[in-house]
Symmetry: C2
Subunit: 438 residues, 2 copies
């Protein structure tokens, strides 16, 4: 039985797929926090180059991928689609489980898909340096990699506690030529203000965003870069789902269920949007976003206009949110600790085109341990949510005696997150639940 489906490099998608063109509703625009009017391209121009702002606001269904970006993707794309035959056997399920594996990228996750595109569009706009923040380091290392491909400088504000606890991610960013500063730092006004009050502050993603934005807007030749949530980021990730559709065709199947883990929304959207195109046009497919019970944005958040960051620097976005002051408990799936959800994903949920499920950390690791033992790939803790949701679907199919076809996004490997597995195997994992904080 064939397990792995590859495509030739010539089949790297030629267009990004923009789901906005197919939506049966008009998405709500982001609003300027002062005027409550829709933000204009000019409002966003201190942060992003105009070509990315155009993509952010575009209603065009197919946006051509430049040759330089496809050439850069060819380092690791097309990524494989794999049939989880040994996992199916272990589960004794009649379901067929397929996964799209993005962990073959240079930084081990789907993040370079947008990092490469963003670096390219900034480069051709004359930008010299990109500035960003990172929590656990997945995004920071991907932007570092993309910047050195296109010969841009890169500065990363890394949450101080991660900077101290995740030396390997820091090394990877150094290797790819980025400058890294633990945040809060003394380099920015916002960083200094925080350190004055609390010299031992461990930092937060919200603080790191503030520092990155503060530095980015000081200079015409420096811009800011974000790794999820925004329309253009989700757009770039649709290379995942487009390839997966071609590979599922190669395997002679179409999925009954499509699953992605959900933090800010980009890996979920990347796989799901091209299949949602079919759904919108009448084909039946169940699309599931899997999130942690400790940060249940989609399952317990409210759909309302809220800030993207804790400091309130960003435009207001209409999205499922736990409140921009919500501080989720520390869990190993650091990439899923975000108070909001991408506005596009939120709108799809609100309109019933997708559904969401929340899972406990312990169950997640039980599923991903079985996956590692059978499929030979150790999932990233974030991706483990999709693994677990797929296993749950396959078990339901067994109970119901259904020959379901399940597809999920294995968005990254967990080789730099093995301490999480160590905690799980030692019985030290806490089952965190959501805590409300001011």
């Amino acid at each position: 039985m064939q397990k792995k489906y590859f495509l030739p490099e010539a089949d790297i998608p030629r267009n990004f797929y923009n789901i906005i063109a197919d939506l049966p509703f008009a998405p709500d625009p982001p609003l300027h926090p002062a005027t409550r009017q829709p933000v204009t391209p000019e409002d966003m121009s201190p942060l992003f180059p105009m070509n990315l702002i155009e993509q952010e606001m575009s209603g065009q269904g197919e946006i051509p991928i430049p040759d330089e970006v496809r050439e850069a993707y060819a380092v690791y794309r097309p990524t494989p689609l794999i049939r989880a035959a040994r996992l199916e056997k272990a589960l004794n399920t009649p379901a067929r489980i397929y996964y799209k594996y993005e962990g073959v990228s240079p930084t081990g996750s789907h993040k370079p898909n947008t990092a490469i595109a963003q670096a390219y569009y900034n480069k051709i706009s004359g930008v010299k340096k990109l500035i960003t923040e990172t929590g656990a380091g997945q995004w920071g290392s991907s932007l570092a990699y993309a910047c050195q491909m296109f010969k841009l400088e890169c500065t990363v504000y890394m949450v101080k506690v991660s900077f101290q606890q995740k030396p390997y991610r820091k090394t990877m960013m150094n290797l790819f030529g980025a400058e890294i500063y633990p945040s809060p730092s003394t380099r920015t006004r916002s960083g200094r203000a925080i350190l004055e009050n609390d010299p031992d502050c461990p930092g937060s993603l919200g603080i790191a965003i503030s520092e990155a934005i503060e530095e980015a807007v000081q200079n015409e030749a420096t811009k800011y870069s974000l790794g999820s949530v925004l329309n253009h980021v989700l757009l770039h990730q649709t290379v995942i789902g487009q390839e997966a559709k071609a590979q599922m065709e190669q395997a002679g199947v179409f999925p009954d269920v499509v699953i992605g883990c959900h933090g800010g929304g980009s890996n979920f959207a990347g796989l799901a949007f091209p299949f949602l195109r079919d759904k919108i046009h009448g084909r039946e497919v169940d699309v599931v976003a899997a999130e942690p019970l400790s940060c249940p944005t989609l399952t317990r958040g409210k759909m309302e206009y809220d800030f993207g960051d804790s400091a309130g620097f960003t435009p207001l976005m209409n999205m499922y949110t736990l409140g921009h002051n919500f501080i989720p408990p520390t869990i190993h799936a650091g990439g899923l600790r975000y108070h909001g959800a991408a506005p596009l994903v939120s709108a799809l949920l609100q309109h019933g085109l997708i559904r969401a499920q929340a899972f406990r950390q312990k169950d997640i690791f039980a599923g991903s341990t079985l996956f590692a033992q059978t499929e030979g790939i150790i999932p990233a803790p974030e991706s483990a949510h999709a693994v677990h949701a797929a296993i749950a679907e396959a078990e339901n199919a067994r109970e119901a005696g259904q020959e379901k076809t399940i597809l999920f996004n294995l968005s990254g490997h967990g080789l730099l997150d093995l301490s999480a597995y160590e905690a799980y195997l030692n019985g030290q994992l806490q089952d965190e639940t959501m805590k409300e904080t001011a």
Copy 2:
């Protein structure tokens, strides 16, 4: 330009290639240390099952790979062959550089190729448990993975200092179900003897081998397993070179130079032996073993009968050796710190069919850093020796204006060895040279 060459799963090799059948000389047999007579299958039977002993002593050119082993290989094989087009560009060389990438395996190296075969042959012989030693953990994690595939128990004696310093490798072994003991341990007579003299002993590979062998021979249902050096281990690794040959044909080229890093000899042999078959039959190809200058077995060792371990438990093997009491300096390429070389590789060097080169640690990391930045894969410190040798060949080709075709084995990734890169980037790498010790 096409960069990646994949083969379908149906093209996983159907035979292991045994170079002994093609050798223009008879290899010297291992000798019993007491009698100095060639060891018999019975001599080896306490350690290995008879089917592996037969492979160890076989002169048959093609040994069929059982379906169960090919099925287990299909989790990650065939591995990709990749053209290092971005590296070529960075080097401004007319040379074409290709690499066979074994880091896609579950444990990130070529080691599962033999671990899977060994687990299978032990399983069908009625063995219940395999026992081995590991230094940095690459081999231990691979055997752990293979044992859980074939439902064998697995015990690993891990050099104590690595056990303490490499928690991620330990976690990986735990995840795959192995029992791990820091060595020296109180579980064996040899371990207890050492701890009595030196309770804080940090351990060594030699001590760990002694403990593993001592436990393995106590019980009919337990056997010992070794990850390199022996004929049957090299034999299993020839799946690498057989696939690479098919993929080079797909690319329409045959290599002028074939390069592998050399510690015990198995990844080098795995790539090189199938090409040496052509060389023996008249085709020109330069075959290079790349080793560390700090443990220069092939370039500065003597060809003579010596023990495989420091305690003198193993048969005497005719090989290039620095002496079984040689203790190489601590370098980051832990897998290349072995005093001897595989007898088959040694004989090939002695007869001029291959050549060897030794490199400095700092140069190695400079090369692998450039490789990571261009090709997007961070090489294991061991594999980095092959990367560096390939870069040196490509630079020579540039100076000479030659359109050379270079093939090397990227035997593993360095994601669990990033501390070595950290030391390099911080300028803390010492250029260790060989020290003679008693």
